[in-house]
Symmetry: C2
Amino acid sequence: MVAVKIASWNTSFVSVLALLASEAIASDPFPDCTTGPLSKLAVCDPSKDVLTRANSLVAAMTLEEKINNTQYQSPGVPRLGLPAYNWWSEGLHGVANSPGVHFEASGPFSYATSFPSPIGLGATFDDDLVKQIATVISTEGRAFGNTGHSGFDFWTPNINPFKDPRWGRGQETPGEDAFHVARYVYALIDGLQNGIGPAHPKVVATCKHFAAYDLEDWGNVTRHTFDAIVSTQDLSEYYLPSFRSCARDAKVDAVMCSYNAVNGVPSCADSYLLQTILRDHWNWEATGHWVTSDCGAIDDIYQSHNYTATGAQAAAVALNAGTDLDCGSVYPDYLNSSLAQSLTTIRALDQATLRRYSSLVKLGYFDPVKDQLYGSLGWSDVGTPAAQELAQRAAVEGMVLLKNTNTLPLAANKTLALIGPYANATSQLQGNYQGTAEYIRSMIWGAKHAGYKVKFVPGTAINTTDTSGFDAAVSAAKQADIVIYAGGLDNTIEAEGHDRMTINWPGNQLDLVQSLAQVGKPLVVVQFGGGQLDDSTLLSNDGVGALLWAGYPSQAGGAAVFDILTGHEAPAGRLPVTQYPAKYVDEVAMTDMSLRPGSDSVGRTYRWYEDAVLPFGYGLHYTNFHISWQKSKRGPYNTDSLAAHASQKAPVDTAHFDTFTLAVTNTGKVVSDYVALVFLTTDNAGPTPYPIRTLVGYQRAKQIKPGETRKVDIDVTLGSVARTADNGDLVVYPGSYTLQVDVGGKYPTSGFQIVGKEKVMDQFPQPAT
Amino acid sequence: MVAVKIASWNTSFVSVLALLASEAIASDPFPDCTTGPLSKLAVCDPSKDVLTRANSLVAAMTLEEKINNTQYQSPGVPRLGLPAYNWWSEGLHGVANSPGVHFEASGPFSYATSFPSPIGLGATFDDDLVKQIATVISTEGRAFGNTGHSGFDFWTPNINPFKDPRWGRGQETPGEDAFHVARYVYALIDGLQNGIGPAHPKVVATCKHFAAYDLEDWGNVTRHTFDAIVSTQDLSEYYLPSFRSCARDAKVDAVMCSYNAVNGVPSCADSYLLQTILRDHWNWEATGHWVTSDCGAIDDIYQSHNYTATGAQAAAVALNAGTDLDCGSVYPDYLNSSLAQSLTTIRALDQATLRRYSSLVKLGYFDPVKDQLYGSLGWSDVGTPAAQELAQRAAVEGMVLLKNTNTLPLAANKTLALIGPYANATSQLQGNYQGTAEYIRSMIWGAKHAGYKVKFVPGTAINTTDTSGFDAAVSAAKQADIVIYAGGLDNTIEAEGHDRMTINWPGNQLDLVQSLAQVGKPLVVVQFGGGQLDDSTLLSNDGVGALLWAGYPSQAGGAAVFDILTGHEAPAGRLPVTQYPAKYVDEVAMTDMSLRPGSDSVGRTYRWYEDAVLPFGYGLHYTNFHISWQKSKRGPYNTDSLAAHASQKAPVDTAHFDTFTLAVTNTGKVVSDYVALVFLTTDNAGPTPYPIRTLVGYQRAKQIKPGETRKVDIDVTLGSVARTADNGDLVVYPGSYTLQVDVGGKYPTSGFQIVGKEKVMDQFPQPAT
């Protein structure tokens, strides 16, 4: 038994792993469906349908057995030959350390490919890449699962939009924009499960944390006690679209409810979220779809939220609301009592049990290995050269060039002073939810591999006032041709369970950079971390020649950075979040969930906040582009025709509105990708206030050669053109609309009219009053 | 809408009826399954199975429609063509006034056959008769239903054993003995539903009140607040066997949970009762089986028991526990809120809805009338001569002769003084849960019809100190040849909602009887009422020549009494309850649920209380009988063989133990029925304390002629020989057993041995700890 407090498992991670070491023994993980008692049940008969198979197992289980198996470390049913199963494996950016995952000390299954953290994947704005990465993760995950090194259920991705720059777990997400996260997760689930709603998912993904989870700790508030007060409009418009995309559109098989409460109701006890919206409105009530609680979230219902008085009540409201697995022990400890008190029903327990085992049936868990679609995946499919290359490609694509005053690319064959807490970092490059990588390319490795001579001096640490290393750093800088400062944030500053109170650079890092700038050598700052920092000082300091944001690039990190710095690769990533000024943290409470500016908030995200240091979507290149719209006259579009057309498609918000084609010409001298971001604005369609702009489409055009003009199609859905009404409805309003490409206003705009009466395209379920 | 407080509906019965008058309009009660919207659903397709049909309806209903139809006066779904339906019809001893029943003012459906109250039917100890009566009630009920004068769901029978003589509703039950009530209800359900578990019940019966309900008001305790503290042994042995017989064996389609709590849990919120015992242990979870709450019982959960704080919680625990219909308005008022708070699930609501409509499907409600098994029943099937005759036969069979000192039968052609509050009573003869009868034969009618001259003087009322009528009564007695005093209890003394505080004769009735006795004429006392009175004074008063207990004999009452008094029929009924001495009410609290004697109780029922005025089973005849056992040597029985034999039958307690044959010889001069009651005793088999005796079989032998010897077979089940252990298990113990026939010890006993080890025949589900 894992004895540590689950609710803070990550902070006790080392001890968890120590305790788990003796448990997670690699072996054939599949039930004996040939000769064992299970073989007599329909569950072992692949010719039968999933529900019949799962039902046969549930029907054979006693009440006690069902209750025992409501926890993540399900003990199975020895009597029936059902093995123990650990539902909790992680795979945020590669198969990751977690209770269900076991890395061998050496040899096969001692590592897995470690991709950049999602914030960096978000910066690529490359859905194809995301799907490829997810495909590798699921292949490796299935290989781990097939050999008993993991389960088949991976509790990834984290798709809460990264709303507040202080959030410690923003690194786990692809960014702040609801549309972007929705597109990202669709591609990701497609790759993880191997298709949209496949009969046999390769692994089961788990979209989390449903919903409105984006706070770890702030003042006296923690994620375990936080009651997120969210307007129906914000819920529909901002906090839910990623989950809608994941559940309704990408048909993920699992969802995780969150620690926090939403409008007074703990998420895992919220039937409005879990039934009305998720299962009913999004039509997610399909065979083998199930919900897990976050770990300890059901404890939180009564112990932190005080939503119920007792554990029996907490277990009941969670089960009744539709939470099918307790990552914790409230279900196994209290469901007997809940049932005895008629707080829930055997039927609800059966339903939850059926949902979970239906999922395992779909996974092929009860099929002969030879008949499993992915039964042959093994160690040879892990960490392949293609996977390693993809990890480097992803790291490169996710780098965002924030400043470059004729400093980059660097000249070759120089001596570099490599300074800063990230200069020789390895595991820090992985961020959180990391696995064991075969290798982690440090900055030093990257520099040397690129042919530079390296003078390495740490200079300072991430968050210290100790300046004793400054002199050595300045001295090294003086002896070098070029100075690289590698610093920023790591998981001692931003972490699960820990938000930042400031978005300034921590410790004395900027002091050291200033000292280095005064040396007068070309100075490049490489900024690591998931959350942004206020880079104003660096941007305005003429002594800083370039600033590259690298996120948590993981195993290929140092190599990828030098691919960019050397010009071997051209930077084309874009900020997936707004870089706010430092004062921002005093202008809005972290607990304030509203997006629009108001008396207590200056507004959130690029759609509602104008005074960014660097805006969402920002990113420089080593080349220049000329952009033009391929058609000047579009529309007018009539709301009736739009509705009529859309009604042929369900869900209507996914109906095609139009395709806007851009001609992107590389007017510079180097081959480069270009991320075409298309924003929509209006100042008269529908009610005020109008968002500053709204991302409605993007496409990463690859490897545009100098002089080449690339046509880039931006498909826009009706849902993107629609706005979200106060009551959460998606409404298409008549009026004038302007299309902008990119940020900064340097490219021409285009426009169109929508005429007719306003049309509701999707009626959002209203909360009970 | 019925605006009166449901929880005390009976006391507001007149106003309920007034309010309902405009609603209960007779008309075609069946849905339009031919042309209406319902005809498009499988529910209207008789070729489909019941579940498919009911499911199609449930699936077509919106959440709001489902919730609206959780109340007894279901509004239906106009959108779907589903008509309103009133689930609440009564038929305790004939189709009865109730919200779902409408008697016309005259002509067809202005009356129904009114049989004796169940306490009188219990006194017949005639299961065949009970089934015949139930068959008539269901025929008449279906005729009422077919024409829109009632529903098809009758909330009868009341099978709580009549444990405490004070209980106001004991009249509704067949008596105090668990075995007897179990046998009675099996026969009754067989008649009401027309078979055991028929595919198409004629009407649906509803066994009530589940469980341990037998208190109306006592001190500060009412049925709405009473928490019955019941040992597992008493629950299994005494309070539940009638429900086991009804649900498990007779396969009734509906059960009603009760107002009271049992061991802290309101019955309608008690999954131990409703799921673990009823549905699981008794295997009652079959298609179309459903549970209604007693009327207002779900309100009581939070308003009277304070078991939950809110209506939403009360609705949820009741629904979760398995209460499928709210005879009240907590479900319709609060289920939306319960769902919003995740206190229950849509699935639980669907299950309840499905159960109810499955029952209606089985009833043929959605079938064309021509295809309905009982579709042709109509007014010509109500109140037939055979039914009327059966009502009189039942009244005769239920009369119990308690004393007769050469007074009965009466000589013919005499002048009778007919005195007392029942002398000219009509509706009082019906007891409670009565319908409109075509006629009610009063005592005066009976006397005149028998050829007597009648001098009628009331003399006194049921419960008064006014003696102003005594002189006229005594005067009439003096002028008559024979004096008949007709009195006892009526529903102003014992009633729903009202228990007695004393079991003495109320008011000054005994004073009047004493005055009449002093006149010196032959004096016969006819005692009416459901509960017993302490008759010691009458039994010891030589001036009282005969005492006949008549219960509530209903429409044929006066005629039946005179059939007995004249000797046209011979009395053979037996007391279905113990007649306790008046002091008994001071020796045990009404709230004390224990059966065995203890520090707070002198014990309950004939099995544990020895000082009865007249014992359970007591009853005199106009003739004498000689009894002998047909075989002197039986057994020994081996527990292993018994278990092996029993294991071939499920449930094992119903397995045959042996048949004991009695030879009953009528040694007197008149034709007479004889009720053979066979009791079992032991003083060494199993643990102490041993019950005084236990009824294990009975048979009413009909019309035994003078000099005739009738062989009477008494089939005894293993369950009757078994005893109930502390934990509720049914256990067969080795030891010596004695068989007694009848009460009073005048007939020879027989005996047998059981050898081997004790054997558990049925493991009783244990309550959650």
